[in-house]
């Protein structure tokens, strides 16, 4: 009787152990990723939807079993736009054994550049600052750099200027490396033959009124403004320009100023902040906008709906931004997995470098393919021009790749 009981216990235990191992074998692997960004504090208006985009897409990958039984576990940490906290988060992620890292601000990306290289950690930041790539092998920009965007806008101005003579341009910049970055490259493009004249460079402060600045630009004959900053100063400028009757109703309208800007100057948040003054604002980015019908729009809205996001988040280009970087990371894992190699930071780095030519990645959230190589660390090179008409951004013309970015290299 005693032996029988013992046998039953041993048998049950064996079954439990076997079951546990089977479950473990079926559970697949978990790949750890990390994202540190500003969900609160400065620039959180962009960081919040960005984090939701990343979170939703990885959730989608896991729910849809895109990686089979394997899962992506991406820890998202709020750094409040503080580089010291970003550094701490990155150290934490390294301790956790991440294989891919997503960073956010220009400041922290530049500050941690050496760490990424030392750790050989493939990193995609939300900052498109061209300086991120200088002396770095492991940082990959998701889309064209701010410099490429500003040059793209300058080229668009040169090609679509209606009046006679060289178009007079003012640069409206954020007082930081993020804002100043593209200036030198646009000046180089001008030196290389781009037909625009930069008559003034404005580094805005926290001004609540731009009347004096706008009047000065007007007196200098400025016809176009190229902005590389965030939405709120642009909204202030547009409101004042609108009040002064300076905003061009069509691109390059004579006697008026046409306002243009790079990725972080535009989007729905600008329309909310500037209201009707945002009309005829020209904006460039490599992302799709949900006000334009298309596969990308449908996919973005469906993803946001699936995870219960509000309308504002669903339609944010920063949500698309977050989704896109998550798509690139997931794609790199998928490709490495398909090759049967172990998922490590080294193998994912190799996969990113191989993402070109026939292997280019086409996420539906951008207007062009993502291409990386040893010499090209900017993902989507293609830009799309958008303009605000009746309170929403509509595409203007076809996607394009700025010519002068190659010429000034």
């Amino acid at each position: 009787m005693k032996n029988r009981k013992r046998m039953t216990v041993v048998f049950s235990l064996t079954l439990i152990v076997l079951f546990a191992f089977t479950v473990q074998a079926q559970a697949g692997e978990t790949y750890k990723l990390g994202l540190s960004l500003a969900i609160t504090g400065p620039t959180s208006d962009a960081g919040d939807p960005y984090s939701k985009g990343v979170e939703d897409y990885f959730q989608y990958v896991n729910d849809m079993k895109i990686l089979g039984d394997d899962k992506i576990e991406c820890t998202i940490r709020d750094d409040q736009y503080k580089t010291d906290v970003t550094k701490r988060n990155f150290e934490d992620f390294l301790d956790q054994g991440i294989v891919f890292y997503l960073n956010y601000s220009t400041g922290s990306t530049l500050a941690l550049k050496k760490d990424f290289d030392e750790e050989k950690m493939p990193t995609i930041p939300a900052s498109f600052h061209a300086g991120n790539l200088v002396d770095s092998s492991y940082i990959f920009l998701p889309i064209a750099s701010y410099s490429a965007q500003a040059i793209g806008l300058a080229e668009y101005v040169a090609n679509n200027h209606k009046g006679s003579g060289t178009p007079k341009v003012a640069m409206f910049l954020h007082p930081s490396a993020f804002g100043r970055g593209p200036l030198e490259d646009v000046q180089k493009a001008v030196a290389a033959g781009l037909k625009i004249e930069i008559v003034e460079v404005v580094e805005h402060g926290k001004d609540l009124d731009n009347t004096a600045m706008l009047q000065r630009l007007k007196s200098k004959g400025v016809q176009y403004v190229i902005g590389q900053t965030i939405q709120s100063p642009v909204a202030t400028m547009l409101k004042d320009a609108s009040r002064l009757g300076l905003v061009a109703k069509t691109f390059g309208e004579e006697g008026k100023i046409t306002f243009t800007g790079c990725h972080y100057t535009g989007g729905n948040d600008l329309v909310s902040l500037a209201g009707p003054a945002a009309e005829n604002y020209y904006w460039t980015t490599s992302y799709i906008v949900t006000s334009e019908p298309g596969v990308g729009t449908d996919a973005q809205l469906a993803l946001a709906k699936k995870y219960g996001r509000d309308e504002k988040t669903a339609n944010s280009h920063n949500y698309a931004n977050g989704v896109m970087v998550a798509q690139v990371a997931a794609e790199a894992i998928l490709r490495a997995k398909a090759k049967g190699v172990k998922i490590t930071k080294e193998s994912l780095y190799d996969e990113l470098l191989a993402m070109n030519g026939m292997n280019a990645f086409y996420p539906v959230t951008t207007v062009g393919p993502v291409t990386y190589s040893k010499t090209d660390k900017a993902g989507v090179d293609t830009l799309q021009m958008y303009a605000v008409k009746d309170g929403v951004f509509h595409s203007v013309g076809a996607p394009f790749i700025p010519e002068y970015t190659g010429k000034i290299k």
Partner: protein, 364 residues
């Protein structure tokens, strides 16, 4: 003097020197020695992740800075809202060498103790210069003067090409007798360096307070006219208080640059000055041990709230964003609560706890 030097009970000061002793009892000395010994030994027994080592390093850096802030604001009673800028002076002294000679130059990587002292001295010079208005200004007016320094510092760093317009200037890893420090040893190495700096700074200030210069600080804080009448020079006292505060802040800034392997403007903003002031208040203004409690409490609170926010974020709908609001909310709440209910800071709790043990074996 009582025959039993181990207990405070029954001991009376019979001379001025008695009252000025560093340790009142042998027990105090033994406990502190044991505590310091533990601080040096525990990393050999337990290993902590890099994240938490960085947190510890951060606490120790803040302690050095707060020791300085306590001299000027706590002991001398002069409000300074530009302390992060003084830290920045120290950090950017190091960064200037990096910009001029290269971030891996032997002066930066090998002569780092010298660089740290030099940064402290530069902080002291700037501190003394900023302290000059203190000869004529008091209270809020002086606070505005220090705020102006913070603004001038921000502008200078943010716009001058030499300082990389505020963007990070790299500082290489340093060399020790075993060679160049690797990532694994980096934070542990700086933990020991910081610990030595904190201990030395603590003893320096403790000794300073026993000297006539130290007593001048308190006298000027309590009544500068009376201090003047007693033959002290209130103006100079204020200037050297600022100079000393700048020295410690400069050292903290240089240490920050070495630990983070870079100097960026974002680490020395007005927000950081306010945080340092909050640490000094929570720790206990005008007390040496408050300089240790404040940074520990605030940074530990920040970490705890971060963890709580992370857990809350998993439970609460993410659209609410309540979890992310916890951090600034709790920080503000702690400051307000301390100001309302314990303006003397955690140092007062420590004083109360010690007074109980001092009476032992008697109950009262």
């Amino acid at each position: 003097m009582s025959t039993n030097r181990w207990l405070a009970t029954g001991n009376y000061f019979t001379s001025y020197q008695d009252e000025q002793r560093l340790f009142f009892t042998h027990l105090d000395r033994t406990i502190l020695s044991l505590f310091l010994f533990m601080l040096f030994v525990w990393p050999l027994l337990f290993s902590l992740s890099n994240k938490y080592m960085l947190v510890l390093d951060n606490i120790l850096i803040a302690m050095v800075a707060i020791i300085g802030l306590n001299i000027v604001t706590g002991f001398a009673g002069l409000i300074s809202i530009g302390h992060a800028a003084f830290m920045g002076i120290g950090a950017y002294t190091l960064a200037s060498f990096s910009r001029t000679l290269g971030d891996s130059h032997v002066i930066i990587t090998h002569a780092w103790p010298l660089m740290i002292v030099l940064s402290g001295l530069m902080g002291a010079v700037f501190g003394a210069i900023v302290g000059l208005p203190a000869m004529r200004l008091k209270h809020l007016y002086l606070a505005i003067a220090t705020l102006s320094f913070q603004m001038i510092f921000s502008w200078t760093i943010n716009f001058l090409e030499f300082f990389n317009q505020g963007q990070t200037i790299a500082i290489s890893r340093v060399f020790w007798f075993t060679g160049k420090l690797g990532r694994k040893d980096h934070y542990l190495f700086w933990y020991y360096v910081l610990l030595v700096v904190v201990i030395l700074s603590g003893f320096m200030v403790r000794n300073l307070l026993r000297t006539r210069y130290g007593r001048c600080l308190s006298a000027v804080r309590d009544n500068d006219r009376a201090a003047d009448a007693m033959g002290m020079h209130p103006g100079l006292t204020k200037v050297y208080a600022f100079g000393l505060a700048g020295f410690f802040a400069g050292i903290a800034g240089a240490l920050h640059a070495y630990v983070y392997r870079g100097v960026g403007f974002e680490s020395f903003t007005l927000h950081h000055s306010i945080t340092l002031l909050a640490m000094a208040i929570v720790g206990g203004l005008g007390t040496l041990n408050g300089s240790f409690w404040g940074p520990t409490a605030i940074i530990a609170l920040e970490l705890q709230v971060e963890t709580l926010a992370e857990h809350a974020g998993q439970i609460l709908p993410s659209d609410w964003n309540l979890a992310t609001a916890l951090k600034p909310f709790s920080f503000g709440l702690v400051i307000v609560l301390f100001l309302m209910f314990e303006p003397r800071g955690i140092a007062n709790w420590w004083r109360i706890a010690r007074s109980y043990t001092k009476l032992w074996p008697f109950r009262y």
